[in-house]
Symmetry: C2
Subunit: 326 residues, 2 copies
């Protein structure tokens, strides 16, 4: 580092900016697919691998998230990244860092949640290895591996004329997150969820946030069904669709009417880990619904009913919110 080169703090940059600063330094990987897709493709193209960490504070609060929920979500979000490549999840490796005062019953419940998510979302996948370490901060880092039966489905394959399709929920998890922050905080501290204070739709939204159930099995279905591009929706449909459009060099036009009565929420909300894919014209595989079309690249990566649409700034209440850890 030269004296004149600025040396920002991690908190001053986005994840993408930091990644760009370090990717060069990691050298040329032999992966067929580099960073930018949902998972790396390794071992001659047969295996996909991805890792994602949930951190107490930025990613979850213990007043809202049980050990079971935490295990479930840590599995689900990583299974979705494997599915988004068109692969079938086969194994999880789980690295836990635990404060000394964590109750063992919490860790047991976390294990139950990992197992239940695998059994429900990706039968045949199981936790095959792991690591426990003491830390001041509770974190769950899950590595998910999967196998491909054909070429991986990347973000970059969409072509003009393709149908844009979605499998899974859109907007529910974000609705649930908003409910948690608006209804279950007292004096700046998260408090346990009171189901009686929620109507049925709200309860489902909170469950969608705490225990998301992405359509994992539909990842390989999409691949076999000819999907030309795919990713999971973790940061919101508009933002993630723009990433897929940018990677493919196309513009995606979404139809608001196809997004249901809460279209604004569906466009902005992430964390449902729905599968967003582009298919050649024709019938869609079961489980996918058409929500738009791929066109030649225009000025904007994404339009809604033909009008340019910009993804919201990505408010992250967990990260921005400095009060009690809960």
């Amino acid at each position: 580092m030269t004296a004149s080169r600025p040396d920002p703090r991690v908190g001053d940059l986005s994840e993408g900016q930091i990644l760009r600063r370090i990717l060069d330094r990691l050298g040329p990987g032999r992966a067929i697919v580099g960073p930018g897709d949902d998972a790396a493709v390794i071992e001659g193209g047969r295996i996909v691998a991805t890792v994602d960490t949930l951190v107490h504070g930025p990613d979850f609060r213990l007043a809202w998230t049980s050990g079971f929920d935490l295990g479930w979500k840590a599995a689900a979000v990583n299974l979705a990244d494997v599915a988004a490549m068109g692969a079938r999840p086969t194994a999880l490796l789980v690295a836990l860092t635990l404060p000394d005062d964590t109750r063992v019953s919490f860790v047991e419940a976390l294990a139950d949640g990992l197992r239940a998510a695998c059994e429900a979302l990706a039968p045949g996948c199981a936790v095959e290895g792991g690591d426990l370490t003491v830390s001041e901060t509770l974190t769950v880092a899950v590595t998910a591996l999967g196998v491909l039966d054909g070429p991986p489905v990347l973000r970059s394959g969409a072509r003009a004329g393709d149908t844009v399709a979605l499998a899974g929920r859109a907007g529910d998890a974000a609705h649930g997150l908003a409910l948690l922050f608006s209804r279950f905080v007292r004096d700046g501290i998260p408090v346990p969820v009171d189901d009686a204070a929620l109507d049925e739709i709200e309860r489902e939204a909170v469950v969608a946030q705490l225990r998301p159930a992405p359509p994992i099995a539909l990842g390989p279905v999409a691949a076999r069904g000819g999907a030309r591009a795919m990713m999971d929706v973790s940061d919101g449909l508009l933002l993630d669709a723009s990433r897929l459009a940018d990677a493919s060099g196309v513009t995606i036009d979404l139809r608001r009417a196809a997004l249901g009565p809460e279209a604004a929420r569906a466009l902005a909300g992430g964390e449902d880990h729905a599968l967003l894919a582009a298919f050649p014209p024709g019938p869609l595989p079961e489980g996918f619904r058409a929500i738009g079309v791929v066109g030649g690249r225009g000025a904007a990566p994404v339009t809604v009913d033909g009008a340019p649409a910009e993804a919201a700034g990505g408010w992250d209440p967990y990260r921005d919110w400095d009060a009690g850890r809960g």
Copy 2:
């Protein structure tokens, strides 16, 4: 959990005790090798996978460990677990959790260290994926994958009459750790290492602690050379030899004279990540030196020159030491 069942805190139990409480709950993995070996064997026996996390505080102090050192060590310890199965490392996935005030230059140096360790210790292996998350605690979780050209080498295969052999250093990293805690702490706070205060052997020991260089390439060499059992020495030769002996149902007799002038240090010290293996009688593969023999199971899992030897209690200065984080 029934009301009468005790619910200890994580800090009250060993890692092994906690693992036993949760393994049942994870369900039957399809892994050919379950927890207890250095890595899981997955994907029909062709791939090994392991994960290990370094946590600021319990595992390293920033006054002593640079970003480069941290990246190097995080790679090296996981590469050693792959090698200990007889596999050739092929890919790393790296999950970083970073405090907001971490300098980006530190993260860049960490990337340099990851790359340098791969290039030096396991050419052909590279970082293929990763994840960045904000956290109050700096952690580096590395998942390492490798390929097997034959059956994995487990801990359980040693037989009476085998030669016990070691490749790599024994005791140097522990010596370095003791030097750090005895020489480079002021008023309870770690302070930077002053090379001028160390003689050459001491400098090498500190390097062995901060940037261990296990003989990764010798893992597959041992497998091809007929190793019947293998593991890496992370917790001390006596303790790890007793684990291999227990897994194999044998007693290992180590020869003190084969362990060099600092035999006591070699027996107690871990973290060099040397490869400990059992070979059938006959010439050893290059890089391995005989340090003992395997006998039928006696009263003790390990003896030294025929006398029962007990592993020391496993003092972990990082964990036990509550003062400044440094």
